[in-house]
């Protein structure tokens, strides 16, 4: 029961950070709630297991020993979003990011 309580507590804290940054920061959250929730779960897992909310899309062994560089929101997310429209985990996206709707036959120029 204690473990469950701690899990919920950590998840609430991680989720608050993510949603606050998505609402008040310079970027938006990825426009698919399933993905956002899954990434919050991954961040929570890392926070509980390693003490820091390391990006779940980066191998933890690459994050350990790099201080807070790969703690969400990570150092690289500004450059990633500038280049790709989204961060490495696709949690935060640029303000003009739009989900590529499946099935639309039109192509998009990602370099534009």
């Amino acid at each position: 029961m204690q473990e469950q309580t701690n899990l919920e507590k950590v998840r609430t804290s991680v989720e608050r950070m993510v949603r606050n940054y998505g609402e008040r920061g310079p970027y938006k959250l990825y426009p698919d709630e399933t993905r956002v929730e899954s990434l919050i779960d991954g961040l929570t897992h890392n926070k509980i297991r390693y003490g820091k909310a390391f990006c779940p899309c980066i191998p933890v062994e690459d994050s350990l020993g790099k201080g807070n560089s790969n703690v969400c929101p990570c150092d690289a997310h500004h450059e990633d979003i500038k280049r790709d429209g989204c961060c490495e985990c696709a949690l935060f996206v640029s303000p003009d990011f739009s989900l590529r709707v499946p099935g639309d036959p039109e192509t998009v120029d990602e370099g534009a």
Partner: protein
């Protein structure tokens, strides 16, 4: 140029790519041998892929006997992610005992043609070359024993039973493809 993501009902673009087994593989050839092909965009470095590796092998073991195969395709930029190089792919396939083709999409053109965005992300293709399911493997990447929705397996069962409907599109949970 990257295409919009394929959806169930779309025709799967053919491809021809080198595999870690030293052979060149193409979708048309695989569809001659199998009744269903799981085109799975994957890679070496992504923690989500690593979490799913045992499940890749289990699905391959379970379904190869029934006429289906996985074909894994790694489109990631090896400059930014050196662990995704072709050499490292060969090592990973050996270490993990992959019994399915693991192909290198160096130009990223196949990932672009499918509109793939994540690793792992699957496109289930039936014998006629039509996409029948797109998205995730299941609903719990962290814990295989806690999976409630076996999305890919469910779709495979339907395709191999001869059903011809479209079996859904789900959100793939994984790392973004590392574009050049």
């Amino acid at each position: 140029m990257r295409n919009k993501k394929l959806v169930p009902g779309d025709r799967a673009p053919d491809f021809e790519l080198p595999g870690v087994d030293g052979r060149t593989h193409n979708l048309a050839g695989l569809l001659k041998k199998f009744d269903a092909v799981v085109v799975m965009f994957s890679c070496n470095h992504c923690p989500y892929v690593i979490a799913y590796q045992d499940r890749f092998n289990e699905i391959q073991n379970d379904y190869s006997l029934r006429g289906a195969t996985i074909v894994a395709i790694n489109p990631n930029n090896e400059i930014s992610h050196p662990t995704d190089s072709f050499g490292k792919m060969k090592e990973r396939a050996l270490e993990q005992g992959f019994e399915f083709p693991y192909l290198r999409d160096e130009s990223q053109s196949v990932a672009a043609a499918y509109g793939a965005e994540f690793t792992p992300e699957v496109f289930l293709v039936d014998k006629a070359g039509i996409v029948r399911y797109v998205g995730r493997i299941d609903d719990n990447y962290q814990n295989a024993s806690a999976v409630k929705s076996h999305d890919l397996r469910n779709a495979l069962d339907k395709v191999l039973a001869g059903e011809t409907g479209n079996f859904g599109a789900t959100t793939a949970i994984g790392c973004t493809i590392k574009w050049k």
